[in-house]
Symmetry: C2
Subunit: 150 residues, 2 copies
DNA sequence: CTGTATTATCAAGATACTTGATATTCAAGA
DNA sequence: TCTTGAATATCAAGTATCTTGATAATACAG
């Protein structure tokens, strides 16, 4: 394992990104007066828009009981709402409310602007390479997570 | 904002990676019988090897009091140890114990193997592009996090 | 249909977190 | 040097959150 080999720097970059992502959402959570669990859930909802308690339970690592009370908090705060799940009458659909989205987006604006600038430094071919790598890397840890859960 | 534009797929890939990272470390934490906070801390320590309570407090989003008791737990479980901070006698250095590392690494092995395979599909030039993009993206959210904290 | 699994919720008890106070040390300036 | 204000980590008390185990409703497989 040669650490001077540029082929290994990319792993470090991915790790740093993971760390910075966490610190980023924690910073937003603190501003909104939310605990770490709740802002983690909202971060996920911001990406997925719709989800279910079961899925959120798997993402957050919480038990189903804790997930219920997390959703109770977020519902009371008008960040999400529960809807009937038409595909499974036992279940519930969780929806991020538009007002919640507009409450969070301002915190992302600066980063998004910087990301648009970053994009200009790369060709379409470049970005195809990046996407392919990141998706591959992402899959490697997703497969491993599934393996561990089995 | 054209969603069919491949220039936007790369953002989705980064988001998915962030989500998968969280689920990955939660899966490992569950196997080790650790709570979400503690596995988050260990994940960070696995990257940094050495840290301080203050730094871990900023990463986890915990207050200093909660950080102290988190470190008490991890110290009792022999995952970390506290050492005197030679550069600041108020402070403490936190060190990941080698035994802890060897306890966690087996869970990463499968993913690391897949990542080595992935690496083969990319040239050095490709990887330089990926690294540059990921670092730039990482910086965009780090800067924004700093901005929010101020 | 019948039995088993899955989904989400609830209540009680266990765990972890926040707040505010404290002691120590640092860093800057008189 | 000596003083002052800030930063480090810890602790104890009170609060918030989480886990566990039980429950009801529905899905799904045989």
């Amino acid at each position: 394992m040669n650490k001077d080999n540029p082929r290994h720097e990319v792993f470090g970059a991915m790790q740093s990104f993971g760390v910075n992502s966490v610190m980023f959402r924690n910073a937003i959570g603190k501003k909104l007066g939310l605990n770490i669990t709740d802002i983690g859930c909202l971060n996920y909802m911001l990406i997925k828009t719709k989800s279910t308690p079961g899925e959120l339970s798997r993402y957050t690592g919480l038990t189903s009981g804790a997930t219920t009370s997390m959703l109770d908090r977020l519902e009371k705060l008008k960040f999400i709402r529960r809807l009937p799940n038409l595909k499974d009458r036992r279940g519930t659909m969780i929806e991020l409310l538009p007002e919640a989205r507009s409450m969070i987006l301002p915190f992302l604006a600066g980063a998004q602007a910087a990301q648009q600038e970053l994009l200009k430094e790369f060709s379409d071919d470049d970005l195809e390479i990046v996407t392919r790598f990141v998706n591959g890397f992402s899959k490697s840890i997703q497969d491993q997570a599934d393996q561990i859960d089995l």
